[in-house]
Amino acid sequence: MLTANHSNQMAVLTVHVGASVTCLPFGRGRSVREILDLFGPRVRAACGGIGACGACVVRVLRGEVNPLMPAERLRLDSAAQARGERLACQLRLLGDLAIRIDHPPPPSVWTTIPMEDLCPVSSEQPAAIRYKYGLAVDLGTTHIRLSLWDCGSRQRMATRRGPNPQGVFGADVLSRLDAARIHAAELARLVRDALIDALRDMLARELGKVTPLLADVGRVMIVGNTAMLTLLTGAGYDTLIDPAYWQQPISCQPPDWQAWQQAWGLPNAEIVLPAPVAGFIGSDLVADLIATDLVEGPPGSMLLDLGTNVELALWTGQRVLVTSTPGGPAFEGVGIRHGMPVQIGAIYRVHGIDAAFSCEVIGGVAPQGFCGSGLLDGIARLLENGALKPSGRFTVPPGTEGYRLDPDNPRTAITGHDVDAFQRAKAATAAAMGTLLAVAGLEWSDLQRLCICGSFGHHLDLSLAQSVGLLPPLALSRMELMTNAALSGCEQALLDGAGMARFARLTHLMAPVNLSMRGRYDDDYLDHLRLKPISLSQNQTIK
């Protein structure tokens, strides 16, 4: 039997907008606005959720609610109160609750990043920026993540996560670069518009004003993979598909800062793009290193950023060996029959109970598909109970529709092609790790610390990742999971007067390793295709 995970702490918020209905299971005690900002249809908003603007009006249809708050008595007249109107930011989820949004805002692609996915930033250092606000940006191939900071008080004012609009030109880096040969200006415009749109959205919804505040933005810091940075600035993208440049530094500086300031309406913003390390190593990996303090740790510390493009760094004590490998989008739930991003309805964990499976689903609703961690768990559990063999074949071929974890729900099926895509992604990752270790003259067992960042987030089950051979079988105490590391590193550098110097110092330590120039990488890749734990002695036995 497949069970949606419904703990006692959960309650369902049902939201009616026009004719559409959305059910959002969520922990009790959170404000309705907070929940809607994370996942749901939005309410109007023009303050940071303190009841000051009175814009987030919703109508309670049924359910248990907290009593009217003082701010609501100020903002809602007696007629409104009699209609059951409340302010979403003051209304808390105590039990199942149904509301209607009578005047929804225009739809938006931006959602708030959950607090638990963010790293705290120390409040000790002095402000580094003359103006009040700073913006940190992690420009990813698939997603863009941003956070707006009050630099004086070192407070995070707001966060946003949304799709990279260049996705219409192809899911992976290569097809984007290919498209740039004809549509470079359009690609650059799309992503620049998206960044300023996200900033304006944060200002409007959290601070209630936009234009006057834009002049208070003193710094915009953007990190990303090299391809995304060149597509943002419109410079250098044409050199990236030529291997001659893969290990070279690539300039990603825009030709004219003032034109950007003008176009964005940010007259006082210093726009900062830390330089990427090489053609295939972006500044996002440097930001990862800042967030994890990798070079402060013992030699033999490795960082793994899992995504469509897997990036790795290994601290040897003297230098940081860095590389990347195209794992494929399986880790992000893309290219998978029932794959989906980490959002409501995604299976993110699978448990095995005898011959049956139980799935944990984001939001606790009926499963609609798998995000990366759910796919990994599903494959590991199928392997565990013998339905799947280490070769990646099913014991009994389930046909093209795949093997259903829940016999009654076709959206819980994993197909042979899904397993294949996962095998190739995990083999590329493990082979890259092994090759980096070999270049450093290290064994798997020399790994002292392994930081895992990227698309799996905190949902990754380390033991299962070990059982299928994605991660080495080290003591779990040596492994750390971190979500949004690149954004965190960017935030730290944004708030630090010496932030650019930190980027420069780390970049200077980095030695790019081109895996395709390492003969053993292909052998390792083939060896790691099987679904089985990595053998800790494996590294030394392969020529």
């Binding site: 290569l174 290919d178 598909i241 030529d242 291997p243 893969w246 063999k389 280490p390 070769s391 990646g392 074949r393 099913f394 071929p397 389930p398 046909g399 093209t400 042979g416 092609h417 397993v419 294949d420 095998q423 190739r424 083999a427 081109n514 395709s516 120039m517 292909d522 890749y525 083939l526 295709l529 099987r530």
Partner: protein, 225 residues
Amino acid sequence: MLDDIIQSYNEAVFETDRMAALNVVDRALAQGVTAEEVVFKVVIPAIETMMSLIASDPDANLAQHFMTSQIAVEVTEKMLPKFRNSPEVVGRVVIGTAHGDLHSLGKRIVMGCLKAMMVEVVDLGVNVSAEHFIDEAVRLDAQVIGISAMMVHTAMGEEGCRKVRARLQERGLTDRIKLVVGGAPYRFDPNLYQAVGADAWAEDGINAAKVIIELIREVKRHDTP
């Protein structure tokens, strides 16, 4: 006895269980099966069976295809030094990835299948220029140049196969050296190989080896009127 060995070997390969396959081979040798028999009666038929199975099986996957070829290569490489007479070599191929392309895996698999089928292969590596392909083919007296290209722009671009074809024509080598391509873009567009001037293409390692052997024979027929 050989039938048992063939069956156990096929099972091991089908499960992509490299250790089990190697154990079967060791057992066969211990029982007096010759290295030649292992290669010609066990390994090559097994890889052919696997490829046709994989081609017709909706559940088959790329990972399995790769692992199968790897096992065949490993066994063949172990057997070759044990051959009583040095095997008769079919011909010689130079192989590399196209200019601008660093994807070496496809090339590696084709090389393995060629070796298993007694074709000499010289690996020119990755990101190989048109001139280097031809200079090496001439120097080594190879009958075939194999170019692997995994990206659309390296498969179709001016610096890859097209340039090799142009140089072959300029130097009057078109009858002496044949040109074969492989890689994902040629699979997506089965006519692309002609557009870029190749003599043939193949979609997997074993078929590449077969196509290349055909072309080697064609060149040799032409050489000995």
